[in-house]
Amino acid sequence: MSNFEQTALAPEFERAGFTDTSSPSYRGSGAAIGKRGLLLLSWLAPVVLVVIWELAARAGWISPQVLPAPSKVLNTAIKLATTGTLLDDLRVSLLRAATGFVLGGSIGFALGILVGFSVVAEAAIDRSVQMIRAIPFLALLPLVIVWLGVGEAEKIFLVALGVTFPIYINTTLGIRQVDPKLIELGRVQGLGPFQLIRRIVLPGALPSILTGVRYALATAWLALVVAETIGAESGIGFLAMDAREFLRTDVIVLSIAIYALIGVAADAIARLLERRLLAWHPNYGASR
């Protein structure tokens, strides 16, 4: 038995050692180009792709009906932003996402705290939540439309639904993972229940909670795209669906690009939050 464990563990150790070194030797160190060279190279590929796309579009190899040139999309963006409703649509979309996120996030966090702290609450709530979670939340869309129609409520509900579960799961997980030895220390130092939660449990659970926030941002965005594609009268999704009727592929590509950009921005904000709030954590914080 112990023999088996040893052989099973040995490669683990080796791998752990490997990740520590910044450049695994079997891939080459990349020393010939240097770190900045590698960074440059990583950006070069996407830029070349866009350039090829632009050239192919201008040369007429790709029909504008299929895929307009990037420069055309950019022009459309400027035109819609100055004379059209682009900024309004963007504002509407962001507001929907934010409202749904705050609602779903609060519910998920509150339930997570409850279940994390109380065995009774866990017994009462957790199984039901896990069952609902098993449903792909987008599959609920037809039902949600029957309940709430295709107005704002439906869109916000869908976003909130998508956000609740990742926040809930990661909050309970984070609370459970707090080192019991630190909780014991808190008791020895005479902390009351409230202080124990504020000084030890929540900070200990924070890395996991922030991971939940990042997941939730992604699902919030996905929910918004789906919700806005169906029966919206404003918003980025509406812009795309409206453009579809007139075969304005430039507007459709623009909408897709905006969704992508906001997704990237949301992730960047989440990362920034992690760096700021987890400055103490060796895996997240900027080295200090």
């Binding site: 630190l182 008791r187 020895v188 005479g190 000084r199 987890l278 103490w280 954590h281």
Partner: protein, 243 residues
């Protein structure tokens, strides 16, 4: 209260004791861990508790710390004791000063924290993070966190076991110095016979949940020989007999 100049070895005073344990019992199911144990530790007295693994010494410490409920007997301590564990148990998300002030409610907390960290030689690092500390430094902060509460009873649960030999010796000196200054009653749980001899005014050996042997360092400062103590612990060594 008159200021005491404590000259080790320990001399009894009229102060109330740091803790009095009478007829303590503790069992897990059918397994009796502590049976009918009585113990009194005076303020300023340094007691080392030795014993094989599973003899109940950690259980006793946890009962004194209020971490485990007791099933029989009484523990009378004037105030909540402070504990230093084998691991430093610093909160990684708090600076050293926030760590030391954890649970401290005194109005002059700031200066007391600064003083406590200065006492353990880390006065310059109030705003540093635990992860920048070596093992010995982290354990010094844990000691500061315990002493800043001005405890009447200080419980040390093998606090030096994870340190390298040189660091351990420095820690012994520091602990001796700080205990002489703050004068809590100390209960040190340890595996290290030499550590017990070096630090304690009184050495207890626990066996099967009871105190099987007690040695008080006499006034001449003569300490028990290592061999006698090892024999009490059931380690009979031919070579040790020579010393």
């Amino acid at each position: 209260m008159t200021p005491h100049v404590s000259v080790p070895p320990f001399s009894p005073t009229i102060e109330p004791p740091a803790v009095v344990v009478s007829n303590l019992s503790r069992a897990y199911g059918d397994r009796v861990i502590i049976r009918n144990l009585s113990l009194r530790i005076e303020r300023g007295e340094f007691v080392a508790l030795l014993g094989e693994s599973g003899c109940g010494k950690t259980t006793l410490l946890r009962a004194l710390a209020g971490l485990d409920p007791i099933q029989g007997g009484r523990i009378v301590a004037p105030r909540r004791p402070a504990v230093v564990f084998q691991e430093h148990r610093l909160l990684p998300w708090d600076t050293l000063s926030r760590n030391v002030s954890l649970g401290l409610t005194a109005p002059d907390a700031r200066t007391r924290v600064a003083d406590a960290l200065a006492e353990v030689g880390l006065g310059e690092r109030l705003n540093d993070w635990p992860r920048n500390l070596s093992g010995g430094q982290a354990q010094r902060v844990a000691l500061a966190r315990a002493l800043v509460q001005e405890p009447e009873l200080l419980l040390l649960d093998e606090p030096f076991a994870a340190l390298d030999a040189l660091t351990r010796i420095r820690m012994h000196d520091l602990v001796r110095e700080l205990v002489a200054k703050h004068r809590p009653g100390v209960l040190l749980v340890t595996h290290d016979v030499d550590e017990a001899i070096a630090l304690a005014d009184r050495i207890l050996v626990m066996r099967h949940g009871a105190i099987a042997f007690e040695h008080r360092t006499n006034t001449a400062g003569l300490r028990i020989s290592r061999a006698d103590l090892l024999a009490e612990l059931g380690v009979a060594s031919q070579r040790e007999g020579i010393t």
